[in-house]
């Protein structure tokens, strides 16, 4: 395979293999994990749920943060309504209760959704490390197809098991279309 690739002497981010079908990629990702690699990633034009198992991806923190934010929004919304109506601006209208719970539900509900929804989106973006203005994977010319029609697997040089020659041999054993070196 080395005939296809130009060797980058220093500053190698990793080795990237390109696959034609999602099935090949999922199989390759599973084998990569089973071979003991930790720092690797797959790149696909649409979410492939089989990869979550193949790569052992089970990050539930987005859901956790959303839950916490939703509960805070709920408590916050209700407290706001209560504090305004009973403390900051109490109005005695025919002796009706100042803390009129049913009337506070809409505001409480909307605050719950607002905080939960914003947190779901923002925590997903931040935990994905976005925005990322520069990333080495884009140095591979054919990588533009990751957002179109092709499937990629990149083993990163930071991985303790990474060794240029043997990793390239390992990737070649997965029958990719092409293997490319990724410059930093």
């Amino acid at each position: 395979m080395s005939g296809h690739t130009q060797h980058i002497e220093d500053g190698l981010y990793g080795l990237m293999a390109e696959f034609e079908t999602p099935g090949q990629l999922v199989a390759a990702a599973r084998k990569t994990r089973e071979a003991g690699f930790k720092n690797f990633d797959a790149y696909t034009p649409y979410p492939i749920h089989e990869l979550d198992d193949a790569m052992d991806l089970h990050d539930n923190r987005v859901a956790l943060f959303t839950l916490i934010a939703g509960i805070l929004g709920c408590i916050g919304g209700f407290s706001l309504a209560t504090w305004i109506s009973a403390v900051a601006w109490p109005l005695n209208i025919g002796g009706r209760p100042l803390i009129s719970v049913p009337m506070f539900i809409p505001v409480t509900f909307e605050c719950t959704i607002l905080l939960g929804g914003l947190t779901a989106a923002i925590s997903m973006i931040l935990m994905n490390g976005l925005p990322t203005p520069y990333h080495p994977v884009f140095n591979v010319e054919r990588f533009v197809n990751a957002s179109r029609s092709k499937f990629f697997l990149c083993i990163e040089s930071e991985d303790p098991k990474f060794d240029r020659a043997s990793t390239e041999g390992f990737l070649a054993s997965l029958n990719p279309e092409e293997i490319a070196e990724v410059a930093k």
Binding site: Y43, V62, I113, L118, M124, N128, Y134
Partner: protein
């Protein structure tokens, strides 16, 4: 994996996506509308007309700011005229977008993939138009921020028990969450545009907007979680928004408004009018941009069915309203229904029945549901019908309430029409710009519909 259930052919009207498509071809086709397609004379013409109509809003709002709300037709007893009619109408239209993007996502309806982006854009633009009306209706829109609870030198706080304040919270949350949901959905497609753009400007703009999305599986996993959570949160939200809007009426004591059927009947009406508007916009877009292989007859058929179903709920609402009026044995309720049917605004009521109860019955026929032209005409009638419904609810209840001495009539002035048509211009301008600068179909979700997208792992050797 579960075996797909064999359904008789009569259930479906063709495939969700033309079988000739591949991963690359859908990306190029949808992305190409933005990146490669030339600007056509028809588009320029449409944009110019919309932009010209938008100037009505500028003129109407300017005159309103100079003179005050007296330039509108509102007065006692009808203090809620076009502003509230159009607010409710626009916000209802928005509901189809959230229904398609959130509720159908949770229900795993894959046909939504081709239409959700467009419908969500429609939601955003419709909510923008809607939000303007209550703000203009305050009479002093530059002080509209007084509606928000914030510490101020007057030491005043908003009334948390007022449905009008609930509206502030509901509509602003709705706009925010819809925008966030829309942007999250756009991220991967903006990355596709960045990668397939040939111009430096395109790469920079779409690159910045995509936040450097790189289709990583580790990102997709969190992305799918976040999408599902947003859909789960948006589903009760969309139901709550029109419920709160209906509370504006139902919490009051005016005959015809003070009824418990309002929340569900408003939500159904919102979805009904929203699907009407999606059809009105999508049928021409599909034709002009040659998207009939992606937005297939099956989509039109399904949308027509939702329109019919929600239309029947709306019809049930009308019948029950009349029944409540009779059954309540309350003089004012009975008079209100009589006045609605035979009073000075009777023609509006009967047009509404014609538009919203009679016309949708044609959708029982498969021939109508799968004929874009006929469906388009029905969708226009649905839009008009829903606008008439808002008019009838707002005006007929207010203009003759309890005391005959305080009865009056309401007719909109030219400035009412200016602001209303102006928001139509704004809406259409935004739609015209949207179809040229952003992918109007969710490309990455379209890819998931393709037969090649399924994971078939090669047998180990």
């Amino acid at each position: 994996m579960a075996q797909p259930v064999e359904l008789p052919d009569s259930i479906h009207v063709g495939p969700v996506i033309d079988p000739g498509h591949s991963l690359a071809s859908v990306s190029d086709k949808v992305g190409g509308i933005v990146l490669k397609r030339r600007i056509t004379l028809g588009w320029v013409f449409g944009l110019l007309i919309s932009f010209a109509v938008l100037q009505n809003l500028m003129a109407g709002a300017t005159w309103l700011f100079i003179k005050g709300v007296g330039v509108w037709g509102i007065n006692i007893p009808v203090g809620w005229g076009f502003a509230i009619i159009n607010f409710v109408w626009w916000i209802g239209i928005g509901h189809a977008g959230t229904l398609i993007s959130a509720i159908l996502l949770l229900l795993n309806q894959s046909w939504r993939n081709a239409i959700n982006r467009f419908a969500e854009a429609m939601t955003l633009f419709a909510v923008m138009c809607a939000g303007m009306f209550p703000v203009l209706h305050t009479g002093r829109p530059w002080l509209a921020f007084w509606l928000l609870p914030y510490p101020n030198t007057m030491a005043l706080w908003p009334q948390m028990r007022s449905p009008l304040l609930w509206d502030v919270f509901a509509v602003s949350t709705y706009l925010t969450i819809s925008a966030v949901f829309w942007f999250v959905g756009l991220l991967p497609d903006l990355a596709t545009l960045r990668d397939s753009s040939k111009s430096r400007a395109g790469q920079l703009i779409y690159g910045a907007l995509s936040l450097g999305w790189r289709n990583s599986a580790r990102h997709w996993q969190r992305y799918e979680k976040a999408s599902l959570l947003l859909a789960g949160l948006a589903t009760p939200l969309v139901v709550s928004v029109h419920t709160v809007v209906s509370f504006d009426f139902a919490v009051s004591l005016i005959p015809g408004w003070h009824t418990t059927i309002f929340p569900p009947y408003f939500v159904a009406g919102a979805i009904y009018s929203g699907f009407g508007m999606v059809l009105t916009l999508m049928i021409p877009v599909r034709k002009f941009y040659g998207l009939d292989d992606i937005i297939t007859l099956r989509h039109l058929n399904n949308m027509a069915k939702v329109t019919l179903a929600t239309g029947l709920i709306v019809a049930y609402g009308y019948i029950l309203e009349a029944f409540f009026g009779y059954f309540s044995a309350d003089t004012y309720e009975r008079f209100m229904i009589w006045n609605r049917m035979f009073g000075p605004y009777a023609v509006f009521y009967w047009c509404l029945i014609l538009c919203n109860i009679i016309t949708p019955q044609f959708l029982w026929l498969k021939k109508v549901r799968t004929s874009p032209g006929k469906l388009w005409i029905i969708s226009i009638i649905v839009n008009i019908g829903m606008w008439l419904e808002r008019f009838v609810i707002v005006v007929t209840s207010l203009h003759r309430d309890f005391l005959p001495s305080s009865w009056g009539m309401y007719w909109p002035t030219i400035w009412d029409w200016a602001v209303y048509t102006g928001t139509l211009g704004l809406f259409m301008t935004l739609i015209f710009l949207f179809v040229r600068v952003l992918p109007m179909i969710t490309i990455f979700e379209l890819r998931m519909l393709l037969p090649g997208a399924e994971v078939k792992e090669p047998v180990a050797h």
